[in-house]
């Protein structure tokens, strides 16, 4: 909480990312330690976490006062809402796939790892394209 306050106050803006990471770790560890079944609220948690991050960084941007921002703010708010909704939908799909009665094997684990690496690689390729 203190880290989030430091981040929002603009003293350590990078602290916002760390706060989101720590909240995510705390959530995952709590589920693993208890050995709870699949949490159906996970998509909502994911959406909420993304919303906190987006709104936090947006509030940092708004620290620089500027006029003529009304329309831009509306578009930004709609974009954030869209992202949050997409997170919810994607999270629900992941949970749906995870709840399918499939037998776990090395093959499925490798396929999952490959999918994870593929997702990260896609993002990296896009980032490199923008940088180039």
């Amino acid at each position: 909480m203190l880290l989030l306050v430091l981040g929002l106050a603009g003293i350590v803006p990078a602290a916002i990312g760390w706060v989101l990471g720590l909240i995510g770790i705390a959530y995952a560890v709590s589920l693993y330690a208890v050995g709870a079944p699949i949490d159906p609220l996970a998509p909502a948690v994911a959406g909420g976490l993304l919303l906190v991050g987006e709104l936090s960084y947006w509030s940092l941007e708004l620290r620089r006062p500027a006029s003529g921002r009304a329309l831009i703010s509306v578009r930004r708010a709609l974009s954030i809402a869209g992202l949050t909704a997409a997170t919810g939908v994607m999270g629900s799909l992941i949970l749906l796939v995870a709840s399918l009665p499939l037998a776990g094997s090395l093959l499925t684990t490798m396929a999952g790892a490959a999918a994870a690496l593929g997702a990260l690689a896609l993002v990296m390729v896009l980032a490199r394209r923008l940088a180039g």
Binding site: G17, L20, G21, G24, I25, Y27, A28, L31, Y32, I38, D39, A42, P43, V45, A46, G47, L49, L50, G53, E54, Y57, W58, E61, R64, P65, A66, S67, G68, R69, L71, I72, R75, R76, S79, I80, L83, T84, A86, T87, M90, G91, I94, L95, V97, A98, G104, T109, G112, A113, A116, A119, L120, L122, V123, L126, A127, R129, L130
Partner: protein, 415 residues
């Protein structure tokens, strides 16, 4: 991205889907941000509507933007000197540009203090739709702006004790060709017939002629004490130099309007002067010189001997604008008076910039200091020099009236 990566890794290690769900949101956001982002291409032109304004006027800087790519958010901020303020306090504007769109963004600001400025930088910041990527650029421009002091209306000026030889608006004490009646005297060979006062001549039995006062101009030197600048706490308060320059601008404008020759002496760490002259060109020269007035710190001891002789012509009226604080300007003014210059002092009172302290000792010191300052003013008055104080709270004309009253009173005493 690292949160997304860590989430996926945690999902694999823990064998639970929830970390992957958390990671999905951040990966979706990163992918969307990267897909929507692009290098912004923007052409910028900057123009200002005026480059000469009066204090208190508004100036508009218009930034013309031509977007080569769509830019969801662009922030434009003009780097302004502290004396130029945007009316709402915000000098930053935001806009959205489509590809190929031309957009003009006017930013108005108020000129709160006289002076010369150069607007040299426009800060541009482009963001993508999600605000993930920021592209900043500082556009160098060179927009000079001269802010002139707002002129005050003066009805009556302080007349010089003695006039010069050129024609002007001041009635001379000498006798000669003019309009104002001065005296009567018996007719002498060579007198013009049209000067004969027939009524008096008939009554006295011999011819009498009228003597007249000619209208002449005067030499006026505005003496600006720039050794020190007194200021109150707070950025918007006028300093003693601000008040000096405002009063000086009003005086030079009105003296030049009545065909007097006006000069300027900036007596301070840096000596600056303008020889007396008349006309519109001189007005521009004087105002430009006033705009460049600043306090230059110096320990060097200076007297009026340091000034070129032609800067202070004989029989000129010297109007000194000074807070009478610096130990170099106080004796210099007395020196001027001792050398026979017709001197009047408009004092910017230092008391307006300093208050008594909170402790008993501070208050006692303040009282002693104010008594010292009263004694200083009385010293000038004892030398026949008019001293009037002006703290900016009333018109300059009221101060000139004080000077006029003192000079009238002093003349009666002298008579």
């Amino acid at each position: 991205l690292w949160i997304g990566g860590a989430g996926l890794l945690a999902a694999l290690l823990l064998g639970r889907p929830e970390p992957a769900v958390l990671a999905a949101g951040f990966l979706i956001a990163a992918t969307a941000g990267l897909l929507l982002a692009g290098r912004p291409r923007l052409e910028v032109e900057v123009a200002m509507d005026r480059d000469h304004v009066l204090e208190g006027d508004e100036v508009t800087v218009t930034t013309s933007l031509h977007a080569g790519t769509p830019i969801p958010q662009v922030l434009i901020e003009v780097a302004l000197p502290p004396t130029l303020r945007p009316p709402g306090g915000i000098a930053c504007r935001a806009a959205t540009l489509r590809r190929g769109e031309r957009h003009e963004i006017p930013i108005a600001f108020k000129c709160e203090r006289w002076g010369g400025h150069v607007l040299g930088e426009i800060d541009l910041q482009c963001r993508d739709r999600l605000g993930f990527f920021v592209s900043s650029e500082k556009v160098k421009v060179r927009l000079p702006l001269r802010v002139y002091p707002r002129p005050e209306q003066l009805v009556e000026l302080v007349p010089a004790a003695e006039t010069q030889v050129l024609a002007g608006n001041e009635v001379s004490r000498q006798k000669g060709d003019g309009i104002e009646f001065a005296d009567l005297r018996p007719f002498l060979p060579g007198d013009r017939v049209r000067r004969v006062n027939w009524r008096v001549s008939a009554r006295r039995g011999i011819l009498h002629v009228n003597e007249l006062h000619p209208e002449r101009n005067t030499d006026v030197i505005v003496f600006l004490d720039t050794f020190v600048e007194l200021r109150k706490a707070g950025p918007s308060e006028a300093t003693s130099l601000d008040l000096c320059v405002r009063a000086a601008a009003a005086l030079v404008t009105h003296y030049l309007a009545r065909r007097d020759r006006v000069g300027l002496v900036g007596f301070g760490g840096t000596l600056r002067w303008l020889r007396p002259a008349m006309g519109k060109m001189q007005l521009y020269r004087l105002i430009e010189a006033l705009l460049d007035t600043e306090v230059a710190f110096s320990y060097a001891w200076k007297g009026i001997d340091a000034l070129p002789r032609r800067t202070l012509p004989p029989k000129s009226l010297v109007i000194a604008l000074s807070p009478l604080v610096d130990e170099r300007s106080v004796p210099a003014l007395l020196d001027l008076s001792g050398r026979g210059y017709d001197l009047a002092i408009i004092e910017i009172p230092a008391e307006a910039f300093a208050g008594p302290g909170t402790s008993e000792t501070d208050r006692l010191a303040y009282r002693l200091w104010t008594m010292e300052r009263d004694a200083l003013r009385d010293g000038y008055r004892a030398h026949g020099v008019a001293v009037a104080t002006w703290d900016g709270g009333r018109p300059v004309q009221a101060v000139l009236e004080e000077v006029l009253t003192f000079r009238r009173y002093a003349r009666h005493l002298h008579a």
